[in-house]
Every structure is written in C-alpha cells, then in structure tokens.
Symmetry: C3
Subunit: 378 residues, 3 copies
Amino acid sequence: MATDTEQLTFPASLEGWWYTEPAIFAEEQRAIYGQRWVCVARADEVPAAGDFLVREVGGESLIILRDDEGALGAYYNVCRHRGARLLTDAAGHCGGVIRCPYHAWAYGLDGALRAAPNMPDWRRERWTNLGLHAVAVSEELGCVWVNLADEPGAWDDDIGRQIRSRMGSDELMSAWAMPSLVTGTRRVYEAACNWKLIVENFSECYHCPSVHPELTTVLPEFKRGKGTLHQAGYGAAYGEDIGGFTFDGRPGLPPLPGLSAEDGRRYYGLVLTPNVFLNLVGDHVILHWLEPIGPDRTRIVCHWLFDPAVLEAGYDVEPSVELFHRTNLQDFAICERCQLGMSSRSFAHGGNLVETELQLRDFHAEVRAAVGDAGRPR
Amino acid sequence: MATDTEQLTFPASLEGWWYTEPAIFAEEQRAIYGQRWVCVARADEVPAAGDFLVREVGGESLIILRDDEGALGAYYNVCRHRGARLLTDAAGHCGGVIRCPYHAWAYGLDGALRAAPNMPDWRRERWTNLGLHAVAVSEELGCVWVNLADEPGAWDDDIGRQIRSRMGSDELMSAWAMPSLVTGTRRVYEAACNWKLIVENFSECYHCPSVHPELTTVLPEFKRGKGTLHQAGYGAAYGEDIGGFTFDGRPGLPPLPGLSAEDGRRYYGLVLTPNVFLNLVGDHVILHWLEPIGPDRTRIVCHWLFDPAVLEAGYDVEPSVELFHRTNLQDFAICERCQLGMSSRSFAHGGNLVETELQLRDFHAEVRAAVGDAGRPR
Amino acid sequence: MATDTEQLTFPASLEGWWYTEPAIFAEEQRAIYGQRWVCVARADEVPAAGDFLVREVGGESLIILRDDEGALGAYYNVCRHRGARLLTDAAGHCGGVIRCPYHAWAYGLDGALRAAPNMPDWRRERWTNLGLHAVAVSEELGCVWVNLADEPGAWDDDIGRQIRSRMGSDELMSAWAMPSLVTGTRRVYEAACNWKLIVENFSECYHCPSVHPELTTVLPEFKRGKGTLHQAGYGAAYGEDIGGFTFDGRPGLPPLPGLSAEDGRRYYGLVLTPNVFLNLVGDHVILHWLEPIGPDRTRIVCHWLFDPAVLEAGYDVEPSVELFHRTNLQDFAICERCQLGMSSRSFAHGGNLVETELQLRDFHAEVRAAVGDAGRPR
C-alpha cells in the first residue's frame, strides 16, 4: 500500500485518527463543546422555579436551574468548598436552596453562597466570591443551550447564523414555532462511533438510496442522493402519492398551524453544529442532539415535537415517530461500521469525498480550526 | 468562570488533577507507597514459621514470610530466573521452601536460592546473588509494615514520630498495648475515589455534624466540627449520658486493662500517613489501612481489635463494630461524591479550606514534596 | 533491592517492560506483525472463488479472498470512499463483488472498483486509483500467510530460511507434505500474557520436567530439559515403550506416507517467528499461530493436521489431540504466571538465562532490532 497522498482521487475527508485519538477527543471537548453553544434539553424539562436538570457537557457536570423569576441559570455542579458533587439526580426539584451533603454549604437559586457552618461572621464579606461558578445559558427554539466559554459569543451569532444560512431567513424557521411545540416521544440512542461520523452522515444524502428505503420512499428526490442542506431555503417535497411523513407514507397528523400549504408537504433538514440536527416536516419536528461520550461512543437524544393540541386530541403519532426511528437506527449502524475503518493505516489520509458530499468540508474545516494540531499522532 | 487564582477566598486545597491523573497516581505509588512505611497486615495473620501472606504495595506483589526463628521477611514475589509469580494464594503455609512452578527453582525461608535443576555445580558459587529480592519489614503495634525503598529509614523516625506528635508521648500510645490485641472483626471496603480524599476526610471533623449522626451523638464535641487531631495528647470525651463507644451509646465492653479511667471514656483519632488511621477508645481499637488501586479507586481494610480475654469471654462486639462501620460507609460515600468534582475545570485551582481544616495542608505539603511536578497536566 | 545490572548472574532476558508497555506492543504490531510474514489461516478455509476470510493482523482488518483463477488476494477491509468496514463476518462467500453497505461502492474479486452510484462517467478514468488497498499474500505449507509491508520480502527468505535452519534442509520438511494435510481438530486459546512469553516458552524445554508430565513421558529425553530446536535436523525419539504421540503413549495413527521409519517415531519442534510453531510427529502435525491482542493478551489458534485418508477411515484422533491440548494448557497457564512478574521493579533488568535457554537470545535480538527504543519507558 502506497501511503503518500497520491492515493486520493477526490478531495479528502478528515484523516482517520480524527475519529480515534483520545487526545483529539479531549481537545474537541475543550475547544468545541467547551466553547460553543450546545443544546442540552427542551425548556419544558425544567418548567418551574427550583426545578433542576443535571447535564454533562464537555466533560463537566452542570446544574440547569430555574429561579424565582422564571429565568434559567446554569452552574458547575461542584461545591466551592471541597469539590463535592452537589446534585446527583438527573432531574428534580431543589426547593429554595442547594445544600452540599459534605459540610452543608448552601447555595441559593442564583448560585450565591447563603450559609456555611462554623464560619466567623467577619468572613461573610468574602462570600460574594464563593458562589457556584456560572455558565452561560440561553433558551431558544424551546430548547436549553449552554456555553462554557469564559467569554461566550451570542447564541444568535452562532446557531442563529447557521439557521439563516440554511433556511434563507429567520422567518421561514419561525413558521414551525418550535417554542410552542411539546415532546410526544423521546428516544435515547447510543452508538459505538465518533460524534463527527454522525454529523457527517446527517450532512449528506449520498447514502440515502442504499441505507434508507422508507425515507427515500417518502422523499423520492432523496433517491438521487442529494439532500436539502446545500440549497438555502430549499425543502424536499413528499412524493405525489405520499400521504404524510410516516414510515409507510400513510397520512400523518393535522398540519402545524403556521405553515404554508407547500411547506406542509416538505422536509427541511438542518445541521446546527456542533451538536444539533433539526428535521422540519409538515406536522412535526424531529430534534436530535449529540452527547459525545468518548472517541468511539456517542449518545444521541431524539425528541419528536408536536403541536400540543394534536397530542391532546389523542392522534396516534407512532407512524410518524417510526419513520425517523428507523432512519436513526439505519444511520447509527452504518456510522458504527465506519468507525471500524478509522484506525486503519489504509485510511490514514482519509477517504475520497465525491461531489454530493463536498459540503462536509465546511464541517471538517470548522473542526480543524478549533482543534488545530493538538491531537495529531506523532 | 474566571480561572485565575483570585477566585479562592480561603487557603487552597490540592488542585483537582491531583486526584485524577494516572501519572500522579503512578508517581505516588513510586515516591510515597514505594518509599514510606506502609501497613499491610496484622502480625497474627502470619503466626508460624513457613506461614506467608501475599500483599500488593506500590504495584508490587510481595511475599511476607515468617522464618524458623520467628522473624518476618518480605520479598518480591518474582522468581529471579524468568520472572514467574511464585505464590498466588493470598495466604498460606509454604513448608521450608518456595518452589517456582515454571522451572523448579527453589528458595528458602530466608529468600536464598537453594536448588535449581540442571545447573552445573561450579555455578553454585554465584548463587548468593540469586536470592529473592528483599524488602524492609517491621513488626510494630502488632502490625506488619513494609518499606520498599532502597535505603529505608527507621520506622520510628516516620510512623513513631507521627504517633508522638499526635499523642504527645509514646507512653500514652503504649497504654492501648496494640501488639496484644486481637482482631474481632475485619471488613474490607472499596471506594470509588482517590486515597487522598479518604485521608483528608479522616483528618477533619468539619463534616461530622452533617455526615455522622451516630458518631456525633457518642462524641458530642464533634458537633462543633473539630476533631482530635489538632491538639497533641487530646482525646474527645464521650457524652455524659453515653454508656460506651457503640452505635447507639449503649454500654460497650470491659475497659482495656492499661487505660486510665479517663481514657476509658475518650476517643483518640490518629492519621499515620501514608496509609493508616487509628481510633483508640476505652474498650477497643479500630485500625484502618488504605490500599490505593487506581486514581479513582481505593481499598480500605478495617480491623476492630479487642482484648483477647474479652473475645474469649464471649462478649457481643457487634454494637461496637457497628458504630465505625456506619461511620466508614458514610465517609466513603461522601468521598466518592467528592471524586466526581475533582476533574472539573471549576476545581482546577482546588477548593477553599476553612479554619478547622487547615491541618490538611500538612498532608498536602507532604504529597507535593514527594511527587513534585511529575504528574502535572500540560 | 539493588537496581543496577550487577544483580544478574547469567545472561539477561528482555527487561520486564518489553512485556507490559502499550507503546512496545504498538510498535511490535507496526514493526513486526506489520512487516513480517504472518500466518493467518489454513488454505482450505478459503477453498473456492468468492470465498473470503476476515482476519486481523497488526491491528488491521484484512479480507482474504480467492479469485476466479483460484489465486488468493488480501485487502484492507476498508472502503476507499469513506472508510466503512466492508465485510463483518469472519468467513463467507461474497459472489463476484464486494459491495459497501454505506454508499454502495462495489469492488471486484481483484479488489478493483467496479461501480459507484452517481459518479460522472468522465471520472471513471480515475478509478484505477480507487481499488482496495492490497496486501501481500502467500500460500505455503498449506497455510495462508500475509505481509503488510510496503515492500515485502520473499516468504522463502524469511520463513523458508528459518525452516531450513532448523530442519537442515527443505527436503526433510517436505516429507510431512503439509499442503496435503487436513484439519482434524481446531482449538482456539486465549492467554492473559504477552505473545513473546509464549514464543520463549515454546523455545526452551528447561521447563518440560516440571510442567509437562505427559509430554516428557512420551519423549523421555525432554526430562533432561533440552528441546529439539538447538540442533539442525534433530528430532527427539519417542520412548522405547511408547506406542505413539498420544496423551498416554498408546499407539497413534497410521504413519504419514512420506516419512522414514525413523521419523515415524520422532518429534520435531519448529519456531517460525514471529507467529508460528510447528510440531511434526510420525502421524500428524500440530500447527500453532499467535494473534497478539494486547500487551497482556494473546490468542493462540491450534490446528491438528492429519492425512485425509486417516480421517476418512474414521480413526479416533482424540488421544493424539489430547497430548498437545494438555501441553498447551500447561504452557499458557505458566506464561500467564510469568506475565504477573513482568511489571515488577525487581524484574526491571530482566531474568537470568541459564545454559539451556541461550537460544532465546536470538529471538530477543530480533525483537530489539525491530522495535528499537520506541517503547522504552522514560
């Protein structure tokens, strides 16, 4: 096997070691998941004052907490005294105070230190410096987003910009009214592959004909191997004889109220790096977010979001859910198979990107810029 | 989150990475557990000539062996020929010789090579150099201590000095007559945390009010959050209405014969770094030793030691054992919770030590001096 | 423990870290298993055109494939497009084409790219560069050997030379007619030790008296602790009262047709580094090959090969198989026990090689030359 770069015929993908090296993964956690806006929850998972979620981002355990004014706060789940983990349940209600079980230091819903045993009063003046370390948090599209950067940029400059670039405008996106939708079904997957393989997989449709029989039946133009990401404002039309976005094309649910008749029969896919995919169809939205676990392991949380009136009316959402559930299983299985090739010396220079995949290079450039040479093998 | 040192209000504990980095752990195994006197057994676990124990210290498997004169020897459990492990049982009796199962090299109870098949006689003159590699061993306080250093210091200069510093004198310690005590109960715990968190936990009582309801009932002054370590020769008195050092304060066992009436109702805690805790009370002694397994895993062996006459008389020791068994479980659970925070960037500069914990800094200084910069992350 | 080299009395074996360091293992995989001729299968495991095997060598998944002309090919099991693993079954039949399940790229039995969806015709001229990366393969002694080197040497210059050196000539070896033999029994073992300990174990018989009671009964000269490797063309004679090479010395099978009467009652052992052992006896051949899994884990595949006429006639081969099966279990258990000593500082300079083991130094020199200082601990 010749190992020089001459072996590549088409533009190269990332070299295989980007998907396997622990040092790369650590640096991605630091420089991407620790610097960018990352989706961690639906906002209705933490509805009332004192409700909390515990989520892991970039290797850090975070507390997401709604305060008395209804605003979200996010804090490192680490006591400022000796480092004990404050909350261990994934979700719950903490009343007005979070008390550390080790030495009983107590923090308010705003993260400030409120009480500490045996502490001389004259020292209280220094307590302003002893609150929980905070993290930027934003509630957008009905989702909770956090940003661990010391100086986080605006959500709109990162995620908002990506939405406008894909949809052509904020207006089109707002037609789906995501903050008003509610979760009908939530499924959590775990795939034995690197998170970037899942992003790449979602970013191209060259695999659709061989991997997704149901999806390409509902969206016949996907049989041509091109997706919807490459054209701003473009959605793929359902097939003429297709009733709705369901696993077998049967009619789906009543259309979402804000959509045009045309968009009621179209599919828009969005990749919002680093960790979100959106699938907008006529009667629901499918939301994915990724939670990288290790170089070769990723958790994928998937929410099927519906008009609350439709759920209350008792419509059967299962045929709708089943379509993308199958699509998910098909995708994650093939991504796991790709992971197996990433450590081969025959993939040391990466693969060959054909024309319909060239958009993957934007993602690759983004990752290369963030990580740099930090994890390159010797 | 500001990540400069200004965030600390009180004196700092060790930075979080001291508890998580494999390189730190490896260096501690080499420079602390491989250089200091470490307790590995009670002496009565290896009573007769030819009896052996196999114990692991600093990543090394050791044979503890009593010879024909009743003296203890300690040897690397590694055949000098090709490196096979000689003994695999945790304890047993080897007769007069330890024979390697691979090529039948045989060593005497003094570690010397006694026989090797097919070896020309003229080579026997060189055999003096082929005995098992020896390790320093000492029998003190009724315990077996080993020291893997090439030039080990005296036990008394390390552990003895710590005892005198805590107890004020050797005389007070000798009142418990530890060599004469026997084990009534032995329990082995495994905690998902670094061994240093367990040392720190045992070294302060600021957590006692929130973590140890039974212990603070028996020793009411522990409710004030101060332990007994900080005052030479000081023991904490039982509560006035407390019958004995039992889980519910009921009367315990007959007092140990050598104690003053006053010490019959007091608790003395000792930390003998790197791996021993002693708890001296009026009618028994609780001995802990630590066996670090990994950066985030520690085995704790706990012996409850009693006057042999009391055990022979059939007294029920369970109410006595139960008090510190509960205390152990409470401590190890909270230490495991601390371990979870050690890898957080919000703990990269460590925590804030309040006044009643300042003695932890001596232990931190000891560890820093031994390990140096060896495991500091880039 | 003195840690200078003076402690060694006899010539040193490899230092302990050669058997434990992940960096050494990685370098061995690259510089030995990735550069030398390695046995991976019997040729009759892939008999017909389109039959394939999937085997792992040097950390690489390989496809072994028989083409329409009956010739073997070997290819990296990695799609040239995006790196997906092409075949996941350990063995099977692929018809005339191997199709990647991700985007349906299809390769012929010669590894060339035959089809790829949505690819403009003008690009086909570049397809010559898009075939599967090939690996050298050779069918010798009825076995499949692969060589991952960019410029592989001839099989005969490596393995053939080793056979001549041991047997004195190619003629003697050819008497066993290995290509014509067939597998009667195949057993796969996994041992918790480094592959080199298994090579060393097979390369000396100093352990035979203490480890192999059955083998030394059949071959009494093995009780003297010398094997057959050190004398070119020498085979060890069965004991006078031994009927055959069976676990209890009962008569075995009809002799192999090509052997002299004398060789019908002799044992020849061969080590063909890096990964093959041969045991030639009067009525069968025992073939071992090693598959290193990690620094402390090795798979050993063992085939008992017989004259097909003997198998067809229904002879009971079990007493023959049982002898080396017991020998295998004895050897792998003792090698696992050696592995436990390799990480000890008391073995940091290695062990003491006695006179009957000096041939191990050739293997050690071979490994040192290939790996160099790549994995030496700091």
